[in-house]
Symmetry: C2
Subunit: 324 residues, 2 copies
C-alpha cells in the first residue's frame, strides 16, 4: 500500500462520508429514490432506484467534484482546479468551481463532441484542447498546473471524490432504510468504491455488487486476479465505463464489494429501453448496466430489498443505441 | 343545455372531485410534483410539473377511466365497459376494468400500431378490430353493446371521466399549494375541463389556460366563437390532441378557462427535447405543448407560481420527432 492509498483508507471512514454530505448539501440535489412497478414485476424483485440522473449536471459525478472543490483550503482554491475529461466529470468540476467562484481548467481532446465542449464552456470553465491521447492529455494538464498552480481533481482516483460519490448510497439508505443488496456500475470505480463504503459502514448485512459491460470487463478481471488489470480496447455503448480501475478504488473494492458481474451490449441496450418505456426516466447507457444484470436474471437468487444507483442521464438524443 | 350537460354540471362540484379522488385512491398513483431548474432559468418563471407521465399506463387517462369504472353499480359492472380508442384511454380503461375484475371491450381500427394492440391485449381487454373510420368505430362499438350490455366509457365526454381527470390538478394544489396559473394541453377537453374545475373550485385567484397545437386548434377557435367548431384535418406531432372538443367539456371550459393558446409544431418538438435533455423526464409530444407556450415566451407577462400538467409519456422510441 502506497502513501496515498494509506491516506485514502484513513480518511474514508463514516465520518468522512458524513462530512462530504454536509459539505455538498447546500449545492447538490438530494435526489429521489423511485420504484418502478414494471421492473419489480418483470424481475420478481423489490427494487429501489436512486435517481442520480436527476442530480445536477445529470450525473452522480457532481457529488465527488463538489466535495473535492469544497475540501480545498482558501489558498489552494484561489489557484483553481484542473482535470482532463470529456465526460460528466468535466461538467461536474466546472459547475462546482463556478459555485465556489474559483477557476476551473478542463483539458479536452480536440475531437470531443461539440455539445460536450459547449456544456463545459457554459459552466464557465477554461478549456484547453489537446490531441486525443492519454499522453497529450496528461502533458497538457501538467502545463496548466505549471501555469496556474491549479489542484488536480481526478475523476475517480481521489479520496474526496470517492467520499462524495459515497453520499449517494448513504442518502438512499438514510431515506428508505436498509438493503440486502446494492448494485452500481463500475468504470474507474469511484462510484462503486463509495457505494460499497457507505453500505458496509452503515449496515453489516448489505451486499454490494458492481456491474460492468462484458466489453469493458477490467474490473471483473482485476477483482478475480487480485490486482489491477487495465482495460484492453474497451468498446461499449456504456461510454461512462471505459476507464480502468483506479489505484485508490481497487483496495476498497476488494475489501468491501462482494462480486462484480458483467452484462452484454444487447442486454444494456434492452435495459436502457425498458427503463425509458416503463419508468419514463431518461437514463444513459452506463446507468442501465445494473438494470441489465437484473433483467438478464443474473441475480435470480437474491432475496429482499435491492438498491440500484442510476448513475446518470446524459446521452445523445440524436443517436439512440437501438437505432444504430 | 341538454339533459346530459345539465347532469354533468350538477355532478361536477368539489364533492364529485373529492369522491373521484377517494374512488381512485387505492389504484392510481399520487404522482410527484417536480421542478426543473433549467426550465425555471430559461423562462424566468417558477414552474411546478405534475408528473402524469408517471401515472399508471403512462398518462392521466387512468384517472378518468378508473373513476368511471368504479362509479358503475354492480349490475352495470357485471356487463363490462366498452370504448373505441387506439390511444392512452384504451389502455387506461383496460387496466381499470382488470382491477375491478370486469370485462373491457376495446374497439380499435385495424391499422393501429402493433405495440398499442399488444398493450391493450396485455391488460386483458377483448379487442374488436374495425375499419379506420369514425362510422365503423361507432357501429362496431354498438354491436359490442348489443351483444354484451357493456357501458360506454367515453374518453373525455363523460362526467365521471372529467371528475377523474380533475383529481390531477386537485392533488397538485393539495400537495404544493395555490397557483397563479395552471396550464394543461387540450384535445377533447377532459383534462382541461377537469383541471379548470379543480382550480376554480379550490382557489379563486388561479387562472387556467389551455394550450393546443396550432395545427389542431379547434379548441381555440371554439373558445373564441362561443360554440364548438370541430377539428378540420388536424395534423400534429401531438397525437393525443387530434380530437375535437366534447359537448360536456365545452361549457365547463367556457365558464372556467381563462384563455386557450396555440403553439407551432417546431416549438412542441423543441419543448419535448428540452424536457428530455434537461429534466430527464420522458414526456410525449402532447405533454410538451404547454411547455412550448412557456418556452415561446407566450406567458412572459405572468407572475407567480405556474403549475403544468405533464399529461403523459407514451411515445414511439423508434421514431423521435426531431429525427423525422
Amino acid at each position: 500500500m502506497n502513501a496515498s492509498q494509506d491516506q485514502a483508507n484513513q480518511r474514508l471512514d463514516i465520518r468522512s462520508i458524513r462530512e462530504a454530505a454536509s459539505r455538498i448539501h447546500p449545492y447538490a440535489h438530494r435526489t429521489a429514490v423511485m420504484t418502478c412497478e414494471s421492473l419489480n414485476r418483470f424481475t420478481g424483485k423489490n427494487i429501489f432506484l436512486k435517481c442520480e440522473h436527476l442530480q445536477r449536471v445529470g450525473a452522480f459525478k457532481f457529488r465527488g467534484a463538489c466535495n473535492a472543490v469544497f475540501s480545498l483550503n482558501d489558498e489552494e482554491a484561489r489557484h483553481g482546479v484542473v482535470a482532463h475529461s470529456s465526460g460528466n466529470h468535466a461538467q461536474a468540476l466546472a459547475l462546482a468551481a463556478r459555485i465556489r467562484k474559483i477557476p476551473a481548467y478542463i483539458v479536452m481532446p480536440d475531437n470531443a463532441p461539440k455539445v460536450k465542449k459547449a456544456a463545459v464552456a457554459g459552466y464557465g470553465a477554461e478549456i484547453t484542447f489537446c490531441e486525443p491521447t492519454l499522453a497529450a492529455r496528461e502533458s497538457t494538464q501538467q502545463l496548466v498546473i505549471d501555469r496556474t498552480g491549479a489542484t488536480v481533481v481526478h475523476p475517480y482516483d481521489d479520496p474526496a471524490v470517492i467520499a462524495g460519490q459515497a453520499t449517494a448510497a448513504a442518502e438512499m439508505i438514510d431515506d428508505v432504510g436498509d438493503f440486502d443488496l446494492i448494485l452500481a456500475p463500475v468504470g474507474g470505480g469511484g462510484l462503486l468504491a463509495g457505494t460499497a463504503l457507505s453500505a458496509k459502514l452503515m449496515s453489516k448485512k448489505t451486499r454490494v455488487i458492481g456491474v460492468e459491460p462484458a466489453m469493458a470487463d477490467d474490473a471483473a478481471r482485476s477483482f478475480a486476479a487480485g490486482h489491477i488489470i487495465p482495460s484492453n480496447n474497451p468498446n461499449t455503448v456504456a461510454d461512462g465505463l471505459l476507464t480502468s480501475l483506479g489505484h485508490l478504488n481497487f483496495p476498497i473494492i476488494r475489501e468491501c464489494v462482494d462480486d462484480i458481474l458483467t452484462v452484454s451490449e444487447d442486454s444494456i441496450i434492452a435495459a436502457m429501453r425498458f427503463m425509458w418505456e416503463r419508468s419514463k426516466q431518461l437514463i444513459e447507457p452506463s446507468a442501465a448496466v445494473p438494470i441489465a444484470a437484473l433483467l438478464e436474471g443474473k441475480l435470480a437468487h437474491v432475496q429482499g430489498r435491492i438498491g440500484v444507483i442510476l448513475s446518470g442521464g446524459n446521452t445523445d438524443l440524436d443517436s439512440l443505441p437501438w437505432m444504430r
